[in-house]
Symmetry: C2
């Protein structure tokens, strides 16, 4: 039965197209999740044949999946020797955060220059404040990601969005290795609303300074996180 005929007999709701996801994408997603959750630690060696056996697929999709993760910057390959989860160095963490700062500053500038509405940022702010009140770390992290993703999205710049997304994967990875007590939920949540206010007021200097400071604060937290992994 082809996809077009699907809805003729019974009126069924739109569940969207049936996605036939290639194996390489499934494999890449599984590996990525494992890396980002910290289950696959930096430095772990990834052997194609072993992974192929574990997942019951041939090596071809595994290779392609690993190449995808390599583009994400999560894995590195050494020819004829092996592939491994990219080790996190202090330098790399600094670079990730500083590049993220540049991306978000660019987004802020673009939003103000083009007079883009910023209402979409209010909801994530509320969610974060609520999560902070409930001492809900997961919720806070989700809200934080939603906030920054939205910030990048409304900047309406596909290339920036793609670059930011790739970079944010590594931030996920770094945060997963960070211990819980390092987070001050209330402080993180209350950082965001002033950014939205400055954007709404089209106050370029204030908005840039706030987003810049916000990103730099996060960077400060991580030196000892790195020490644990290398």
């Amino acid at each position: 039965m082809s996809i077009e005929e699907a809805g003729t007999a019974t009126p069924m709701e739109d569940i969207g197209p049936i996605e036939n996801v290639p194996l390489r994408v499934q494999v890449a997603n599984r590996l990525r999740t494992a890396i980002l959750s910290g289950r696959l630690k930096p430095g772990t060696s990834l052997v194609e044949t072993a992974l192929a056996d574990q997942m019951n697929v041939s090596r071809a999709p595994i290779r392609e999946a690993i190449q995808i993760l390599e583009n994400d910057g999560l894995v590195e390959t050494i020819a004829y020797k092996g592939k491994r989860v990219k080790p996190l160095t202090a330098r790399e963490v600094e670079e990730v955060y500083s590049l993220r700062e540049a991306f978000e500053v660019m987004a802020v500038q673009r939003i103000i220059e083009r007079n883009t509405p910023v209402d979409a940022l209010r909801a994530p702010c509320e969610a974060m404040l609520k999560a902070a009140g409930d001492d809900d770390l997961e919720g806070l992290v989700a809200g934080d990601e939603a906030f920054h993703r939205t910030l990048i999205e409304i900047a309406d710049h596909d290339l920036l969005a793609a670059s930011w997304k790739s970079l944010y994967l590594r931030i996920h990875q770094i945060m997963a290795l960070r211990s819980r007590k390092d987070h001050d939920l209330q402080a993180i949540a209350s950082n965001h609303p002033p950014i939205v206010d400055a954007l709404a007021a089209r106050d370029m200097d204030r908005a840039v300074n706030l987003i810049s400071a916000h990103t730099r604060n996060l960077k400060e937290l991580d030196p000892e996180t790195i020490a644990k992994t290398t």
Copy 2:
């Protein structure tokens, strides 16, 4: 004749280790060159089997090479339909140049903040001025790339360098499609020395404004270039 036998008879100088470059890299380089030179125009369909026949290799390295180019942003894949050289839209050109501006501004800020020496930028400037005098477009372009590559390199930020490099590939592609008369050699060459002066003087505002203006000037040139390709 194989590469190993080539130099045995005559005493040869040290050309470094013999790099055994994987086929995928060789293929990727050939395809990339073809795309950047404009020989493979945006929209051209890339068929794995056809390329494999042409280059006398199997499909595996071709696939991996195409995936490399996909990461470079030069090729896009549509599942079960085909792969093609990514079409250049006006929007994409705008995004490429605006992101490049952000990258170079970041490099400038970093160079000034960290008090990095900028002497390495003088040589490319000289080369460009000389090339402009000789009406040597190739030389000027090479000098321009050397200047900006050096700018990024002395910023000492691997992630920034990698991102910039990938972005610059597309700028190559765009420039290759641009007609010769659009270039004002003298103007381009003389744009660069003031940037170095501002950097050397650690004058943040002036340096940022100059590099920003320089990048924006380039962007202005391209609308009609795009019209020709899409």
